[in-house]
């Protein structure tokens, strides 16, 4: 057997040269000082390959047009088996690549490995860093949700502000007017057609240069015998890759990647935020105002990139021990502190996103179609802790009361209301305590319980809190006497579906307090709601689907 394998490998080698190529690659001489600090390059390469792989997987189920991108991603996340994991790997993988590429760069910088004759290796690395950022920038738009859209609005406007080149950048990105199908197509093409082959070419060149010049030695390596790449350093690289991938996999499996509502160019309340690794740039813009803004958006980033490229030409000193490279370490520390401080300030300074913007559309959202009475009923269900004794769906932990999913098949609403008021009157021997809410609220609770069907899923688990409490405020003030929501209510006032498209949240809040000022002659009374009531009510109203379902 072993003999046959050996024969086969020899034959293969004669014809392709692959086995001896691998042997040559693994048998590379590396300096005696090589160790754990040099694993980052291999990890970065592996992580980029993972991005290629998961990106191709996503593309198998993704429609790259503004009309369908969002729906297809939602399909990946809600219907394709393992789709959520796949998107998680790609999403978190993007961040991992950035982190590892930067760590790789920091290591090379501190050790001074960019010095002659390795200047070109370093410059190729700087360009690879820029490509990595370009992936982040272009990939950010592809989910086509609000976050993607508004984040890209900021990016493209920064591009447009470059003196001289601005209009050309806009034209190249297809963003001369508004961001739309052209920008989307350009970003997609950049992300999947242009950047990957460019990355592969540059990585090839980068690795070729590493082989050509050899792994950078340290002063203490002089006179010491060289080591072989295989097996010790290969083992280190592999273990580091394994740890990094384990972290990525855990992130992808445990941390939900949200999908916000579909991109809405009319949504004036949305607060755009870039991805975390761009936050420092975003924050530094705040330090420069008016005509100085260019300093933050264009001049400083350009200078920083130029400084990186020029590094091996500025520092031409002889190789010294790592511990003596205090200036390099100091620069890295300073950059780290600056970056950290700006990022922290940006995170702190982020105003909370409106409740409506925080809904995760990658999960089920059937609650959007529920009528106000049903949603308010869910609020009382929560308030009265009905869930302590009742499961909504079969198969949960054992509880004292019956499962409610098919309660509506067994009982009508009148029965339920009598049951809430006095459980023993309808179910002799029941251990259920009476529900202590008003008769009108019991009506809503009965409506909610009737809406809990096996088909509707676990409405209780998926309905956001602000939605049910907003609807309870709506019911308490009998708003449904004059307004229609999701097909229920009176027709005196305007229907409230699509309110988000017609009004701002601030206008709506003002309208509750002073309706005559904003709509002279309106029969709408004044509603002195508390701050929390107002917030929940408006947040819920602004999540209503545009068209009332029939």
């Amino acid at each position: 057997m072993k003999k046959q394998l050996k024969k086969f490998l020899e034959a293969l080698d004669d014809r392709t040269g692959i086995p001896s190529g691998i042997r040559h690659f693994l048998g590379e001489d590396i300096p005696a000082s090589s160790g754990w600090h040099q694993v980052f390059g291999s990890v970065a390469l592996f992580m980029i390959l993972v991005q290629f792989f998961t990106g191709i997987m996503l593309a198998f189920n993704y429609a790259p047009t503004t009309g369908q991108a969002y729906d297809s991603l939602r399909y990946i996340m809600t219907e394709v088996t393992g789709g959520r994991l796949m998107r998680g790997l790609h999403h978190w993988g993007a961040s991992m690549v950035i982190v590892i590429v930067v760590l790789h760069m920091v290591q090379v910088f501190i050790w001074g490995s960019y010095k002659k004759p390795r200047e070109a290796t370093w410059i190729a690395g700087v360009i690879l860093l820029l490509l990595t950022l370009a992936y982040g920038l272009t990939g950010y738009l592809l989910p086509w949700d609000n976050r993607a859209y508004w984040g890209t609005v900021v990016t493209t406007q920064i591009g447009a502000s470059v003196p001289g080149a601005g209009p050309w950048v806009s034209r190249l990105l297809g963003s001369a007017g508004e961001i739309g199908v052209v920008t989307f197509a350009r970003f997609y093409a950049l992300h999947v057609l242009l950047l990957p082959p460019l990355t592969m070419l540059l990585i090839g060149f980068h690795v070729y240069l590493v082989r050509r010049h050899g792994v950078a030695p340290q002063p203490q390596d002089e006179g010491k015998p060289k080591k072989k790449f295989f097996p010790q350093q290969v083992f280190r690289d592999t273990l580091a890759i394994f740890v990094a991938f384990a972290i990525l996999f855990t992130l992808a499996a445990m941390v939900r990647v949200p999908l916000e509502r579909m991109a809405d160019p009319t949504d004036t309340s949305y607060i755009p935020r870039p991805e975390w690794y761009f936050l420092f740039l975003f924050q530094s813009l705040k330090l420069f105002e008016g005509p100085l803004e260019l300093v933050g958006t264009v001049i400083l980033p350009t200078l920083a990139i130029l400084a990186l490229i020029a590094t091996p030409f500025i520092d031409r000193s002889h190789l010294v021990q790592v511990r003596q490279r205090t200036l390099a370490i100091g620069i890295v520390l300073l950059a780290g502190i600056g970056w950290g401080g700006l990022t922290l300030a940006a995170v702190r300074g982020t105003p909370p996103q409106t409740a409506a913007a925080s809904i995760d559309f990658s999960g089920p959202v059937q609650w959007m179609l529920l009528k106000p009475a049903e949603l308010a009923g869910l609020h009382y269900f929560r308030q009265e802790n009905c869930g302590r004794c009742h499961n909504v769906l079969r198969g949960g932990e054992a509880k004292a009361g019956p499962v409610l999913a098919d309660a509506a098949r067994r009982h009508d609403r009148d029965w339920m209301i009598r049951h809430f008021a006095d459980p023993q009157s309808t179910s002799p021997g029941s251990a259920m305590p009476p529900v202590d809410i008003s008769p009108a609220q019991m009506g809503d609770l009965a409506a909610a319980v009737s809406a809990l069907t096996p088909e509707s899923g676990d409405l209780l688990a998926i309905t956001p809190d602000f939605v049910s409490s907003g609807a309870a405020v709506y019911q308490k003030n009998s708003c449904g006497g004059c307004h229609v929501v999701n097909g229920a209510g009176g027709r005196i006032g305007p229907g409230l579906n699509g309110l988000a498209a017609r009004r701002t949240e601030a206008w709506t809040a003002e309208h509750f307090i002073n309706p005559q000022k904003l709509s002279p002659g309106t029969p709408m009374p004044v509603y002195p709601l508390s701050k929390k009531e107002m917030q929940d009510l408006i947040s819920w109203l602004f999540t209503l689907p545009e068209k009332s379902p029939t």
Partner: protein
């Protein structure tokens, strides 16, 4: 360091490299295979579409009805026009045939004389109850799962002859 411990170490490294790489490959390949091969999505229930009024249908006289049916296609729901040949039996039962000949899928039509469904492609003939009279058609006409409610016909999925066309308990979905 003796030569023996050196080779032991080398062996350990080699084995660890293989083991870790195998784990990595599996951690990528298994999710990818699941993602590509395991059918996902919620089980969709049979939905019924309103195909129109059949209360005035004369027994024994097939009529071609056309209706809109929505089809779920990945992340899209598309609405397409479909047709059915509908006939009321003597027993007041309504049968709806799929509009394609069971031979090669040509559109057949009804001939009043001699009261047969005729396929123009290869001259398959079907009787009013869908059975093959002559020609190359391998099986009787396909039938829609059908229900009538208040004089309107609701159609479900198309079934081949021999498959059950009994409806389950689901209610016909009202066209919104």
């Amino acid at each position: 360091m003796t030569i023996e411990t050196k080779t032991n170490r080398r062996g350990f490294y080699t084995q660890a490299i293989f083991a870790l790489n195998t784990l990595l490959a599996a951690a990528l390949a298994v999710p990818a295979l699941v993602y590509l091969l395991v059918p996902g999505g919620r089980k969709r229930k049979e939905t019924f579409v309103d195909a129109g009024d059949v209360s005035h249908l004369a027994p024994g006289a097939p009529v071609e009805l056309s209706f809109q049916q929505s089809r779920i296609d990945g992340w899209r729901v598309s609405t397409e026009k479909r047709t059915a040949w509908v006939v009321k039996t003597a027993a007041d039962k309504v049968i709806a045939y799929g509009p394609q000949c069971t031979h090669l899928g040509c559109a057949y039509h009804w001939e009043e004389q001699p009261k047969q469904f005729v396929c123009p492609c290869h001259a398959s003939l079907f009787s009013v109850d869908g059975k093959v009279i002559s020609g190359p058609a391998p099986r009787p006409l396909d039938r829609y799962v059908a229900q009538t409610r208040n004089g309107r016909l609701f159609l479900g999925p198309l079934r081949q002859f021999g498959e059950s066309t009994a409806t389950d308990e689901t209610n016909p979905e009202r066209a919104a």
